[in-house]
């Protein structure tokens, strides 16, 4: 299993590796604005590489479905500055199966991906599903607003 260095141990500071769910990018780059999601990207940009994020094919595909081409182009340019896109196939099937007991397949995959990457937190506006199960997850779950309140 491929593992990545935990940035929380670098520099003696509490650095955070994050997965940002597709809804954060759609709200930041889409036509319908959500201010906390925009502030989240600003904050990550300004704090880079203190906080950084990982992204996978599923998230990119979802963002593409919900943005106009020009906005999707901006999104791609933005993420390329900070992260490469991980192939979905890298996530071990057994991790995916573990989360399928709790979530539907799409959410199960995001949870498995976050665990596989070894993130400290998933930032998502999906309160109904991820936030309802956050006590059982090996990473923290925030909305853009709660993340900014705690880590800005």
């Amino acid at each position: 299993m491929r593992k990545y260095a935990n940035p929380a141990k670098r520099f003696g500071k509490r650095n955070l590796l994050l997965v940002l769910d597709s809804n954060e990018f759609v709200f930041a780059f889409g036509e319908e604005q959500d201010i906390p999601s925009k502030h989240l990207l600003e904050s990550i940009t300004d704090s880079y590489p203190h906080h950084t994020f990982r992204i996978c094919e599923t998230i990119v595909k979802e963002v593409r479905r919900h943005l106009v081409p020009e906005a999707f182009h901006d999104f791609i340019l933005y993420v390329q500055g900070f992260a490469s896109v991980d192939s979905d196939f890298l996530v071990p099937a057994e991790l995916f199966a573990k989360y399928q007991k709790t979530f539907k397949p799409g959410d199960a995959f995001i949870a498995a991906y976050a665990e596989w990457v070894g993130v400290q937190a998933l930032v998502t506006e999906n309160r109904r599903h991820f936030h309802a199960h956050k006590a059982t997850l090996p990473f923290q779950v925030f909305t853009a607003e709660t993340f900014l309140a705690k880590h800005r």
């Binding site: 597709s22 809804n23 759609v26 709200f27 930041a28 780059f29 889409g30 036509e31 319908e32 604005q33 959500d34 925009k38 990207l41 600003e42 940009t45 300004d46 880079y48 590489p49 599923t58 595909k61 979802e62 479905r65 919900h66 020009e70 906005a71 901006d74 999104f75 340019l77 933005y78 500055g81 900070f82 539907k104 397949p105 799409g106 959410d107 199960a108 995959f109 995001i110 506006e125 999906n126 109904r128 599903h129």
Partner: protein, 60 residues
């Protein structure tokens, strides 16, 4: 990417992309109410589930 200049360059470019994206949205962008926000979250979630149902169905 570890040299401070490279880090600062990455930050600067990212800020510029955000600035450009948001200034283009400008007047077209609509403020988002809580109800509409919930609808969009659910739309995104449903499309993700559809994508994964399709993916799982096509597995041998």
């Amino acid at each position: 990417m570890s040299a401070p200049t490279e880090i600062e360059k990455a930050r600067r470019e990212a800020r510029e992309i955000l600035r450009r994206a948001w200034s283009r949205q400008g007047q077209a962008a609509k403020p988002l109410g809580q109800r509409r926000k919930e609808q969009i979250i659910e739309e995104i979630r449903k499309s993700r589930e559809a994508l994964w149902e399709e993916k799982l169905a096509s597995r041998p």
